[in-house]
């Protein structure tokens, strides 16, 4: 698209950016899910500068241990002439909690991807989304097309209420990820309508 003509710029409607957060433990398929549906290759940015610099401000020197960064993966889907949907994959653990405010602020909703062999990994994300009232759906990633647990067992283990949808997803499949995102958006609609 040619964005360089100023007359065209004057008539073009500004883009509307929206986002959905995809949370889950390491290796659970977040980046795979983003990549399965993104129209661009999954991009990565480092996102721990605030913490690092805050430490430097306080001490006046650079302690090595604070120079850790976390990779934030993201993708994009152009929805129509105006709306751009961004998908952010974020680690679900507590120690990345400093990023969650930026990630969830204004988000339409979240998809929590769960590996039934490591349910613990997603507790902090579920807790956080419940606390801030962000609509979310829990999706159990089907590795090799099979479930290790019954969905009801997963619901029980995670202690998520009946109002939170629990679905399965194949993170490698574009259609499956699409359906999971649509489930998140329906949850968001329900919540928006209930207000």
């Amino acid at each position: 698209m040619d964005w360089t003509s100023s007359t065209e710029r004057a008539t073009r409607r500004p883009p509307i950016p929206v986002k959905i957060v995809i949370a889950g433990g390491f290796g659970v398929g977040k980046t795979t899910a983003v990549g399965a549906i993104s129209e661009i290759d999954v991009l990565t940015t480092e996102a721990a500068m605030t913490e690092v610099a805050a430490e430097i401000d306080r001490t006046g020197h650079t302690p090595d241990k604070t120079l850790t960064t976390v990779a934030l993966d993201f993708g994009r889907i152009t929805i129509d002439a105006e709306i751009k949907l961004y998908l952010f994959g974020t680690p679900g653990q507590d120690r990345f909690g400093f990023m969650w405010h930026d990630l969830t602020e204004g988000a339409l909703g979240a998809l929590v991807i769960v590996d039934t062999r490591r349910l613990d990994d997603c507790y902090p994300a579920v807790d956080y989304f419940e606390k801030i009232g962000l609509p979310f759906v829990v999706a159990v990633n089907m590795f090799d097309g099979k479930l290790d647990h019954e969905l009801n067992d997963v619901r029980w283990a995670l202690a998520v209420g009946e109002k939170t949808p629990l679905i399965t997803v194949d993170a490698r499949s574009r259609r499956s990820v699409r359906d999971a995102l649509v489930a998140v958006l329906h949850q968001a609609l329900t919540k928006a309508g209930a207000r």
């Binding site: 698209m1 964005w3 360089t4 100023s6 500004p14 883009p15 509307i16 950016p17 929206v18 986002k19 549906i37 991009l43 990565t44 940015t45 480092e46 996102a47 721990a48 500068m49 605030t50 690092v52 610099a53 805050a54 430097i56 401000d57 650079t62 960064t69 934030l72 993201f74 994009r76 889907i77 929805i79 129509d80 709306i83 751009k84 949907l85 961004y86 952010f88 930026d102 990630l103 602020e105 204004g106 339409l108 574009r174 259609r175 699409r178 995102l181 649509v182 958006l185 329906h186 968001a188 609609l189 928006a192 309508g193 207000r195």
Partner: protein, 115 residues
């Protein structure tokens, strides 16, 4: 060219860790103003790269960071500065709750049309 990954983040931002615009969402769309385009030849380093990148097409703050190999926090600080100086304009995510339902429905329709 210096590998940006090897430059301490605080050197790029004059030691500041917080953006001038605390509410600058990471998905906010940034694009170059005509004044910004006119200044590209006289701007330097990362700031010039940002203004040039956003002149081609609107980019999310997080895309600016990724494209230029900057830490996300650094990109937010620099973009905030460039908006304040009139080189960039920013289009924020919609916050109007009444707009939200319409937008969610449009996103659902858009996703439904994917193969």
């Amino acid at each position: 060219m210096v590998d940006p990954a090897r430059v301490p983040p605080y050197l790029l931002t004059g030691g500041r860790a917080r953006p001038v615009d605390e509410n600058l969402a990471i998905e906010a769309q940034v694009f170059t103003t005509l004044a910004g385009r006119a200044d590209i030849p006289i701007l330097q380093f990362e700031v010039r790269d940002i203004v040039a990148a956003c002149d081609d097409e609107p980019l999310a703050v997080v895309e600016v960071a990724s494209k230029l190999g900057l830490h996300l926090g650094v990109a937010r600080v620099l973009v905030g500065d460039l908006v304040a100086s009139g080189h960039l304009m920013v289009q924020r995510p919609p916050i109007d709750p009444s707009r939200r339902v319409e937008i969610i429905e449009r996103v659902i329709r858009g996703l439904d049309q994917l193969d």
